[in-house]
Subunit: 271 residues, 2 copies
């Protein structure tokens, strides 16, 4: 068991990602984590360090500090002999300044997770609202404005992927569920024909879909393995027939699906 | 203008965050970015490096490589004399191995943005569906299952915040809009009384709300500055009267609102 302290002068989202990526490589160590976001004054840093120090005395092992503190004077406070301090800006900012031959700004309003450019930010919020309002094929009348339209059978992962793309990349995503009536033919549902070039499909292994649907509505026709097999086969036949690119989501997280999809259709971050 | 290449053996989301945080500190440099996710073989790395090298010859300045490549042999390929290479694992993994006195695993299935623990992952997907289904006060009948219920006037930021919390922290969030009828009294709407301890409010400056609403429905009573002032005053009066903690969202991104909210109500990541 080792203690880990996340200390940041802003949201701490960068340190959080960094920590998750790093600590995950030590599956045999159990970590006890504590976060100190918005630690942007010497007093707040000291308050966090007091906890670190206490933990060191109690546990007899140096806690790990994973930090991103922009101000060099505050950052200096984190170099203590009772903890192992990994600071993100410390590691990279100097090297980047050297490579770019100019100094980094210490303007904290330029934080990675602040509002930043207001127009960009508003675009992203609009994308979230768009994706919610165009979830689950509620209506196709706004598909002209969509950057991409995800199609697939129920519970293949359309909604979480749409939401993830909107939140993280400002992409306007609509999604359309391929229902039983749509799957009777190998042709596209009429409503989708005008948007053929924007369509992207998700597919899945039938066993996995059966598990997901059973978790939601156990012992129903909807969740039966046979229903899943038939729907997936029909959906893949349609997508192959109509030249719609698609991905299998069975063993992929929403992050993996989103990045792979953006790479396949050459979609860029919209903010 | 400097070229930046993001190279990762997985989704590249960590490098993306890292890059955004770092490059944002150089507002006077324009960056031309290109991403190579899933570069997990020597061939894919070489393909990316070919582009880097070309860019170096064309521009006469070393491109910046921001990378997270777990496999040390692949990582070694990125150390080239025609680019400045900042590798995330290179910077921290060795130091962490030393501090923890054990070796990092190279098992790529433990990537920070993969499915990881399936139960945790399913919980997160459930949280996304929950938050969508309990958006905008559609119904209060599932509030028992909510981790938190966000209240506030229309367009104060409830929906994007709810979605962000669900996607990134697996928190089940419901949100309830305080409508004109709710705001006639300083008491909680009846439907919310059983959930008083789960309530968290969002408020906003009237000018900002006026701008946001005007962007959506210009020249309506809904978007008038006076309407905004009245609704916000009534909502704040109610929240003060009922002891509901609240945050002002005017100059905060959804990331900042979410982290501040979690810190205030001591809500933890749910996966």
């Amino acid at each position: 068991m080792r203690s880990v302290f996340y200390i940041s002068d802003h949201t701490g989202i960068t340190t959080d990602k960094l920590g998750t990526a790093l600590l995950g490589k030590f599956p045999n160590v159990e970590f006890r984590k504590e976060s100190f976001p918005f630690a942007d004054t010497p007093a707040k840093i000291s308050q966090a360090l007091l906890k670190v120090k206490n933990r060191f005395f109690v546990e007899g092992k140096k806690p790990i500090i994973i930090s991103s503190v922009l101000n060099p004077e505050l950052r200096q406070l984190l170099v203590v002999d009772y903890a192992e301090s990994l600071d993100f800006f410390e590691a990279f900012l100097g090297r980047l300044e050297h490579a770019l031959e100019c100094e980094a700004t210490l303007d904290s309003s330029r934080s990675a997770h602040g509002i930043g450019n207001e127009e960009n930010y508003n675009h992203r919020i609009d994308a979230i609202h768009f994706s919610l309002e165009n979830d689950d094929g509620v209506s196709c009348k706004h598909y002209d404005d969509a950057d991409i339209v995800i199609v697939g059978v129920s519970r293949v992962g359309k909604t979480p992927t749409s939401i993830y793309l909107a939140v993280n990349y400002g992409v306007k995503v609509a999604n359309y569920p391929l229902a039983e009536t749509d799957l009777r033919s190998d042709c596209l549902p009429k409503a989708l024909i005008p948007y053929q070039l924007k369509l992207f499909g998700l597919s899945i292994e039938s066993e996995r879909l059966h598990n997901i649907r059973s978790h939601r509505l156990p012992n129903t026709k909807y969740s039966q393995l046979n229903t899943c097999i038939n729907e997936i086969q029909a959906a893949e036949r349609m997508m192959n027939n109509c030249g719609i690119p698609y991905l299998n989501t069975s063993h992929k997280s929403i992050e993996e699906i989103s990045v792979a999809m953006m790479q396949l259709v050459k979609l860029k971050r919209q903010f």
